[in-house]
């Protein structure tokens, strides 16, 4: 049964999230290096650190007639929201803040990405950025409802919006067993929300990097970090809601949480590496005509079982 951690766990949260993000980034770089036949995975493992250093010494760009205030706000909002989304996610027995409506909190923090990505595209006053910003809003409209219904299924299963209650309800049987549709849709929408491949049209090659097209230096670093952190938060929540959080034999709870989160993260990164990009107009129709009915039926099924 998760409980709120001591006050200093709030300081630890960004560090834990950052370690996961760096690990996911390394895995991504290693997979890319292997495909490219480039120098070995060991070099790729250090690439995130070296990239961060490169962005730290890089000059910040300014574009003509940019809305600098909103543009710079975008990255900070994305990163902050990504970290805050993990506030309610338990690591073993502890979570930083166990809100009574933790699931809603998590979703609200993820929604911040809508505003942040749109602002990043808009603020630079460049055509590619703006097009990509709109792409993300379209993607958001497509993924948000299935995502919400997937969250709702878990909440109905536990009869509570508190993450601790959802974890407690999985002591005997993980939710993934009897709500697999919700779990799969949740993972899909987490990828879409963090605009990671295959849902990376907002940063696609065809729009020269899209919302990232004009970002450089520390602004780019903050924005990219925010994107990875969002993915980490999603993976962490998937473990808490569907994979029994810290539950497991032999090992301590926190280690189970770490292992499961790392595994989910690896699957997400690997899937993004294997699949070609999903275009927005195709995904929007699938989301509305397939994913929403599927998650609604899943929620109905869970409700009937609970009754």
């Amino acid at each position: 049964m998760p409980e709120p951690g001591p006050w200093w766990s709030a300081l630890l949260l960004p560090a834990v999230v950052a370690v996961f993000a760096a690990g996911a980034c390394s895995l991504d770089a290693a997979l890319r290096a292997r495909t490219a036949g480039a120098p070995g995975p060991a070099a790729a493992a250090l690439l995130p650190v070296r990239s961060a250093a490169g962005l730290l010494v890089q000059q910040r760009r300014r574009t003509p007639a940019a809305d600098t205030l909103l543009w710079r706000t975008a990255g900070v909002a994305l990163l902050a929201a990504g970290v805050l989304a993990s506030l309610v996610t338990p690591l073993g027995r502890w979570s930083v803040g166990d809100l009574s409506v933790g699931i809603v909190w998590f979703n609200a923090m993820e929604i911040v990405a809508w505003g942040a990505v749109w602002l990043a595209g808009w603020g630079a006053n460049s055509m590619f950025g703006l097009v990509a910003g709109y792409r993300f809003v379209a993607q958001g409209l497509a993924y948000e409802l299935p995502h919400m219904f997937a969250l709702t299924s878990a909440a109905i299963g536990a009869g509570s919006l508190r993450v601790a209650d959802v974890v407690a309800a999985q002591r005997d049987l993980w939710f993934v067993v009897w709500m697999p549709v919700a779990f799969v849709v949740f993972l899909l929408t987490v990828l879409a929300m963090a605009f990671r491949p295959p849902f990376d049209q907002p940063t696609g090659q065809d729009v020269a990097g899209g919302v990232l097209a004009e970002l450089s230096g520390v602004d780019r670093l903050v924005f990219l970090a925010g994107r990875w952190v969002l993915l980490v938060s999603g993976a962490g929540m998937a473990v808490a809601l569907f994979l029994g959080a810290g539950g497991g034999p032999l090992l301590p709870g926190w280690l189970w949480s770490v292992l499961k989160t790392a595994a989910v993260l690896a699957v997400l990164v690997w899937a993004g590496h294997r699949l070609p990009a999903v275009r927005m107009e195709r995904f929007a129709e699938v989301a509305w005509l397939v994913l929403i009915p599927a998650t609604l039926l899943q929620a109905l099924f869970v409700s009937i079982l609970v009754l």
């Binding site: 007639a65 809305d67 205030l69 909103l70 809100l99 009574s100 409506v101 809603v104 909190w105 979703n107 609200a108 929604i111 911040v112 809508w114 505003g115 749109w118 602002l119 808009w122 603020g123 006053n125 709109y134 809003v137 958001g140 409209l141 948000e144 919006l161 275009r279 107009e281 195709r282 995904f283 929007a284 129709e285 699938v286 005509l289 397939v290």
Partner: protein
């Protein structure tokens, strides 16, 4: 949280909400106006969280971010100054509006301090969201049914108002086309 802190946070939120509300009508960029309005809502949500309505406070945050992002798309689409490149003034009858608004505020503020508001000693529920849920869903689900119908009517009405292509445009006059004739192909069944 100790009462002093709550007091400080409340007044910060209140000042922020009103200030960003004023900013909405003073900036010359659509994007800034919309996000100023969003800031006002977020500060407002802060005051709602202070009165222990956690669910509703976070719900307001979630809903308002979504609404404002959708709003900004329309703003940029329909306003003559999409990039904020040129300063603009969209005001008319500023003095009259200011007088009316100022007068309204004076009357309301006087009311706030003159009326003897009721207070309650009743205990606050541990989980206010349960009582909300029962009010919405309990006793024949009246509220929920009304809300649902209203939202459904809205969906139908807005689609009818906003679209200029019906199914005859998409599937042909006899509705016999296999694949709808859309400007952009969708993703199901192809």
């Amino acid at each position: 949280m100790c009462p002093v802190w709550r007091e400080i946070v409340f007044w910060l939120c209140a000042a922020g909400a009103v200030a960003s509300g004023i900013v909405v009508f003073r900036v010359d960029s659509m994007a800034r106006a919309t996000f100023a309005l969003l800031a006002s809502f977020l500060f407002g949500a802060g005051t709602i969280l202070l009165v222990e309505l956690t669910y509703l406070g976070i719900l307001v945050v979630l809903m308002m971010i979504m609404e404002m992002v959708i709003m900004v798309v329309f703003m940029v689409m329909y306003m003559m100054n999409p990039a904020g490149l040129m300063p603009m003034s969209m005001l008319h009858n500023q003095k009259g509006s200011l007088a009316i608004a100022g007068g309204t505020f004076a009357v309301l503020a006087a009311g706030v301090y003159l009326v003897d508001w009721p207070t309650s000693r009743a205990p606050r529920p541990e989980q206010p969201v349960y009582s909300l849920g029962e009010a919405l869903m309990g006793s024949k689900m009246l509220v929920m049914i009304v809300l649902g119908l209203a939202l459904f009517a809205t969906i139908v009405a807005t689609v009818v108002l906003a679209t200029h292509r019906g199914r005859y445009d998409r599937y042909g006059d006899r509705l016999d086309r296999d694949r709808p004739d859309d400007p952009v192909r969708g993703g199901v069944g192809r």
